[in-house]
């Protein structure tokens, strides 16, 4: 792991077009500003991990469950 020391308003640049800047730091945490190209997704790690786990647990549940289909049909508003 690369470890660098940065002061407020100092940044690091990663690859082509990704910049991470320290906006503020204090006892409660560090506030970062991230600039990245639109195709690069930036997420807080804990929520990303939560979504990955949710996707993994949902995969393979592709077998239709009739009771669920029936219940959802009850929610469809008549057009």
């Amino acid at each position: 792991m690369l470890v660098v020391t940065r002061k407020r308003n100092e940044a690091i640049v990663i690859g082509d077009g990704i910049e991470v800047k320290v906006l503020r730091h204090g006892r409660d945490g560090v506030r970062l500003g991230i600039t990245a190209p639109p195709q690069v997704a930036v997420h807080r790690q804990e929520i990303y991990d939560t979504i990955r786990a949710a996707n993994t647990s949902a995969a393979g549940s592709g077998v239709p469950v009739q009771s669920l289909v029936d219940r959802l049909r009850g929610r469809v508003e008549p057009s």
């Binding site: 639109p38 195709q39 997704a41 997420h43 807080r44 929520i47 990303y48 939560t50 979504i51 990955r52 786990a53 949710a54 996707n55 993994t56 647990s57 949902a58 995969a59 393979g60 549940s61 592709g62 239709p64 469950v65 009771s67 669920l68 289909v69 219940r71 959802l72 049909r73 929610r75 469809v76």
Partner: protein, 136 residues
């Protein structure tokens, strides 16, 4: 804000949708087909064509939460190559221990015009990852 796209019609052919980054946990899955059938409706099946060929049940989040916010950030629209055309929104359904839930926090959004999709994670909106759909 643009109008949401209608749900896929029952008679539609399987549509191949490109997911340039895959989805979290399935980053190697770049091509999916969306299968809608009368038996499944209002669910639709999103199936990966690339290994590990994961398969997901999905539902339109507005069916669960009629006021579901369909706003995308500018860079998210850019990732879908979307101007203001209608987009297709899908919440992934999970069934575990007989309980069905839908992920409203990280919807799949598809641009039907470009056949490009992405799973977006909503940071600022507190939609649940496991919205309860009841026992099945």
């Amino acid at each position: 804000m643009s109008q949401p796209a209608p749900a896929p019609s029952a008679a539609s052919e399987p549509l191949v949708v490109e997911f340039p980054s895959g989805i979290p946990g399935f980053e190697t899955c770049h091509r999916f087909v969306l299968v809608a059938s009368p038996e499944l409706a209002p669910l639709a099946c999103l199936r990966a064509l690339d290994p590990p060929e994961a398969s997901f049940l999905t539902v339109d989040p507005r069916l669960l939460e009629p006021g579901y916010d369909l706003t995308l950030r500018e860079f998210e629209r850019a990732r879908l190559g979307a101007a203001d055309e209608p987009l297709l929104w899908l919440a992934i359904v999970s069934i575990a221990d007989g309980e069905a839930t839908a992920n409203l926090r990280a919807p799949i959004v598809i641009n039907p015009r470009r056949m490009t999709g992405c799973q977006f994670i909503r940071d600022e909106v507190e939609y649940p990852v496991r919205y309860p759909l009841g026992r099945v």
